[in-house]
Amino acid sequence: MITLLYDGSFDGLLTAVFEVFEYRYKDVEIVSNGRFHQENIFAEIHEVITQSDKAERVLKKLEQNIEKSGIHELLKVYLSEDSELEQLILSAIRQSIQHPDKNILQNYADTDILKISKICKSVSRERHRMTAFVRFEKMQDGVFFAKIDPDFDVLPLIRKHFKDRYQDQKWMIYDLRRNYGILYDLENCEFFYPEEKLDLHKYQQKFHDEEQNYQTLWQRYFTKTNIVERKNLKLHVQHVPKRYWKYLTEKW
């Protein structure tokens, strides 16, 4: 068994996959630095140095076989932070190289492919929910700020949605769990990585004067648009799982 250690990036992972083929390794596992605990002292370690040209070549090959949409699915598996993600992506790429004429991602009867399809569904669901459940709060400096805490690392997947939608206001979405965010300043829309966690305690005091009013209006609207005679909390919780409530203005 050979263990390939990579830096945790998507490019790094693809470089590792490239080297599996390059060195004709058969029995391998790919592990990211951050999650590596050496248990088997006899394991043979191969350190992968991320090389964008190797990653690029894997992507190019993949694009021929499973198209851009297929690569996007593998990216979702990567962003799922699933403990099996490396093994699944390697398995899919191996199958794809073996059957270049077919889109192997549609072979749902295969265990690994089915897992990939399930993970993609979960990640897509979370992505969709993050386009829905983000709540901006207007700050004194006019920036609309939102904090999120998704189960999967979906920020890269929602950047375009918000960039397209909110072009005439400054905004910021910050992932509390992973400590990074997106910032749009009317011109650029980039990721930012603060050195320390943002201090959220003082932040409510920095609300724009009108912010509290609109929050109240929204809460009143939410209450009044409900039809009491049709109350169905089970359905409600199914649609808005409780773990999101703490960031929803209407669930104050």
Binding site: N107, A109, Y166, L217, Y221, K224, N226, I227, H236, T249
Partner: protein
Amino acid sequence: MNFERLKEKLEILADAAKYDVSCSSSGGTRKNKKGALGDSSVSGICHTYTEDGRCVSLLKILLTNHCIYDCAYCVSRSSNDIKRAGFTVEEVVDLTINFYRRNYIEGLFLSSGIFKNADTTMERLVRVAKKLRLEENFNGYIHLKSIPGASDELMQEAALYADRLSINLEIPTESGLKLLAPEKNRQDMLSPMKYIQNGIAQYKDEKKIFRKVPKFAPAGQSTQMIVGATNENDLQIIKVADHFYKNFSLKRVYYSGYVPVLEDKRLPSLTTAVPMLRENRLYQSDWLMRFYGFKAEEILDPNMPYLDLEVDPKLSWALRHLHQFPVNLQTADYQMILRIPGIGVKTAQKIVQARRFQILNMDHLKKLGAAVNRAKYFIDFNAGNAYLRYLTDKNFRNLLVGGSSSKFHNQFSQQLSLF
């Protein structure tokens, strides 16, 4: 802006608008212009859900609940003693923009009680949409409720600024409408609908020739009917829906189980339960017509004018057509796979894709997401299927009903439980 007064108005006019069923923000695309606000996409987004489980994607309000009509089923009817309020055009625009900027909503759904007359009311609704588009550069979703009897000129303008237009049919049958809303007539509802339908068709023709044609109600038209306020049967309702899909090219027909809120001798009593299960079955039938290739006549026929409350309409159809089963998963065409109870559109598509790679078995089917507890009786695999022996059983129906329990069963049972 007087915040306290605005809050009060919002409470009154959201409360009055909540019985309108439509909340979808889908069906049309509108791209954001550079440096402007908002866009909308085909799939739409539900931003939250009320405690009754309905999605909230739009700010759904009435412009005013002052109304000259006295329709029996409507809380805003003129003879009902309630607080009245009205928004100014500026207030609606301000609420929409500020809710949208905070990502609470996909856009606006604006309806209104009818004050003065149809055209005055419609003109005011159009003015809101126009201000949002032209002055605020807003490209989010706008759904306007057309006012029955509004003039063609106003409908034309409405379609230029709104994404979707709708007119409530209110009651499925004309006789029912006459009984509960004597001042309204079907014709006033149909002619604006016809006008928009023609406009959309014309837009599509022109679009083929010219690249730039102003959008015309890009998300199409929808309507809704109240179910259970009068004594129409399900067959009549489905036929009406089918008629409007075919002859008016409607995007959606909504069904609204009647919530008894008013005492009136023409209406079911205030203690009547909301017909949730019936409403659910109607939506299932609607799906069968729109996505599963079923014809209205297949779902119900004159000998059986009500939907089966015990089993869903697709299973009900299958039970009446057992001779068409079992269906071989490896060879059947997509349309027939869609008709297998327990298999939905997504699963059917996956089956058709996956069977090219290998021969499918029951285990695969389960993993692909089919409701195997129902589907297993209707499917033949290349290797055979032991469950098929039940298909000819006299008690087959009971076996199926017993084997699956509806999640609605207790909650929305038509019968009140005694204890």
